[in-house]
């Protein structure tokens, strides 16, 4: 038994990191991890570094060392052993996918035509947040139980300063003080203003108007961006360091709403971002954008505590709240309530599953695509009466920068002698995750061979004609798979056969159609949800 409870585990593939950064770069990163652990310890957190490729570390938890850094299944097996042995409160993946791989799960919305949904796979950290064993389908990961975040480096970049800076920010993290009304920076496309207003209206105790692009952005001041919470409901693109507004549905040549290149010097340290934008937290090489890192990476480099967002194309309606809207709303409300970033992400995922009567294919993609970038143990908002930690001890290297800190306390983190209330809450969240895994009704991750809704009937439901070529796909839903998936690696075709064999039909179906743009209407994804004994629900959503 360890001397104190292991509360946070930092994992990475050390050989991959050494190969990427060289011995001296890795040494600087490792020293900063040690400094973070010391700072955590002073704040009451026991932090342990775990090299996935270390036989010695692996032996401590009964795992097999991970040889190939890209082997996500092996990494998950090690992480599962860490949880079995140490039951950490937080798991921090150190580095981007070159050091700790994302899982790549088939996207239920993939039709083979990238004009519909361009993502064949969902790149995700969700499996690391679940007790369920590795399985090549997002349908297996509906019961998250773990608070997981990733402190990412930059794909293809070998300057260790990036990860050193992010680790230092985590070490120096300070909490914003909660007040009666927490200011929020809310930015939306003009076309989705109503949806964004609805989201902000559901955030507990926040103030701030929804700004829209056009006409706002991409020039912002430090005062504009000073609020501790940022909600961005704009367009985003892969390999693109900008986010975009939209004046009218289907507009081309979208106006820039936020430009990563113009963010340095403007971000308040410790701020938290929930981004609905497509590819908001995607990992891609800055070399693809002339050396400019993504908006999310720039936020983190500038001292933001965390970014919660989508790894690929995300969806939401223009005038209501669904999918990406809900994930961001749930996450921000948890942060506002004083949760750590990791717990906020976990609770958002759980609530997202919990509040849907069943998970349709777009729900499944949404659940899989939202990941947390940042140290999951950070509590961004301090409430009056919460314990305030002692000052952060100094750590290498001194950067000489003056902290950009208006009103805040030293960050509050979990305490070493875990209070009964915290233990109880963790048990409850674990129980919720397990219950969701065993009870959630879930669409299959591939459509039936034949659609059960005609284009004409869909047009009737929508109240307007649909262009020729609009194809409807029907997804059956099944009751939970049970727990016999096991840990043995199996091929995708075997997995699909097993899915079909184990599935219990429920009579719940989702009809999905990608509707091309027409005059006055942009492209839309239509989801018709049908459950026995209930009226059909029609959701019309657009690509974020």
């Amino acid at each position: 038994m360890p001397a104190a409870p292991v509360i946070k585990v930092v994992v990475t593939h050390r050989s991959a990191a050494r190969a990427k950064y060289g011995a001296s770069g890795w040494s600087r990163i490792r020293k900063e991890v040690t400094a973070l652990a010391k700072a955590d310890n002073a704040r009451g957190i026991t932090t342990r570094f775990f090299a996935l490729d270390s036989a010695a570390d692996s032996q401590k938890v009964g795992a097999t060392k991970v040889t190939a850094a890209a082997d996500a299944v092996a990494v998950k097996a090690s992480i599962d052993r860490i949880y079995a042995k140490w039951a950490p409160a937080y798991l921090m993946l150190l580095g981007g996918p070159e050091l700790v791989p994302q899982h790549s799960l088939p996207n239920p919305l993939w039709t083979g035509d990238p004009e519909d949904d361009p993502d064949q796979f969902i790149r995700t950290d969700l499996p690391y947040a679940c007790d369920a064993a590795s399985f090549p389908s997002v349908t297996a990961f509906t019961g998250p139980t773990r608070a997981v975040g990733r402190l990412p480096d930059l794909v293809g970049e070998t300057d260790a300063d990036v990860l050193v800076d992010l680790l230092r920010h985590a070490r120096e993290a300070a909490a914003f003080t909660s007040s009666a009304s927490t200011p929020v920076f809310a930015l939306s496309t003009k076309t989705w203003k109503v949806s964004t207003q609805l989201t902000v209206g559901k955030l507990a105790g926040v103030s701030g108007a929804v700004l829209t692009s056009p006409t706002r952005g991409p020039v912002w001041t430090a005062a504009d961006l000073a609020p501790s919470l940022h909600l961005v409901n704009c367009h985003g693109g892969e390999f693109d360091p900008k986010w975009y507004g939209e004046a009218t549905p289907g507009q081309v040549n979208l106006p820039t709403s936020m430009d990563a290149a113009s963010l340095p010097g403007l971000i308040a340290k410790g701020s938290v971002v929930a981004a609905e934008c497509c590819y908001g937290v995607a990992h891609w090489p800055p070399a693809a954008a002339g050396g400019q890192a993504s908006v999310a990476s720039t936020y983190l480099r500038e001292g933001a505590s965390g970014v919660f967002g989508a790894s690929n194309v995300a969806y939401g309606p223009a005038t209501a709240n669904e999918y990406a809207d809900l994930m961001c709303q749930y996450f921000l409300n948890e942060v506002l309530g004083g949760a750590s970033l990791g717990r906020a992400a976990l609770a958002a995922r759980q609530r997202f599953v919990q509040t849907e009567s069943f998970l349709d294919p777009t729900d499944l993609k949404t659940l899989g695509q939202f990941d947390l970038l940042g140290d999951p143990s950070i509590h961004p908002i301090a409430h009056a009466g919460q314990p305030v930690a002692p000052p952060t001890p100094p750590g290498p290297p001194p950067d000489g920068r003056v902290p950009h800190a208006p009103v805040r306390h030293s960050i509050r983190r979990s305490v070493q002698a875990v209070p009964a209330g915290v233990v109880s809450r963790r048990s409850m969240m674990t129980a919720i995750g397990k219950a969701l895994e065993s009870t959630a009704v879930v669409s299959n991750d591939a459509p039936n061979a034949r659609a059960a809704l005609s284009r004409e009937r869909l047009a009737e439901l929508l109240g307007y004609a649909l262009p020729e070529g609009t194809r409807v796909r029907t997804y059956a839903s099944t009751a939970p798979l049970g727990s016999e998936r096991g840990t043995r690696r199996i091929s995708r075709s075997v997995a699909r056969r097993r899915l079909a064999r184990e599935a219990t039909p429920t009579g719940v179906v989702a009809h999905v159609a990608f509707v091309p743009a027409t005059e006055g209407r942009g492209r839309a994804l239509v989801v018709v949800r049908a459950e026995p004994g209930a009226e059909q629900e029609v959701r019309v959503v657009v690509v974020r």
Binding site: P97, E98, G112, D113, P114, E115, D117, P118, D119, Q120, F121, R123, V155, G156, H235, G237, E238, F239, D240, K242, Y244, T248, P249, G250, Q251, V252, N253, L254, Y279, A282, H283, W284, P285, A287, A288, G290, S311, N312, V313, P467, P516, A517, T518, E519, G520, R521, G522, R523
Partner: protein, 79 residues
């Protein structure tokens, strides 16, 4: 993902809502194993890239970054 790769495929262009303010031009690169939305490095993420659209129906060799949904080409050459 971190390094560029070269892919052989065919470019197809689809125009929807043609002639309207919402006209969308989508350029797709179809390779042997999968297909992506095709963008040019420096080209617009959202908007018309007529230089790519001119490759409609052509077999090309594209070099660039293969992403989740987008192939970002630093070079596209007709074969």
């Amino acid at each position: 993902m971190s390094t560029q790769e070269t892919v052989r495929g065919t470019v197809s262009v689809r125009r929807v809502a043609t002639g309207s303010k919402s006209e969308q031009v989508t350029v797709v690169l179809t390779a042997k194993d999968r297909s992506w939305l095709l963008r040019r490095s420096g080209g617009p993420s959202f908007g018309r890239d007529e230089e790519l659209a001119a490759l409609d129906g052509k077999a090309v060799t594209a070099t660039g970054f293969a992403g989740s949904g987008v192939f970002l080409a630093t070079d596209v050459a007709e074969r």
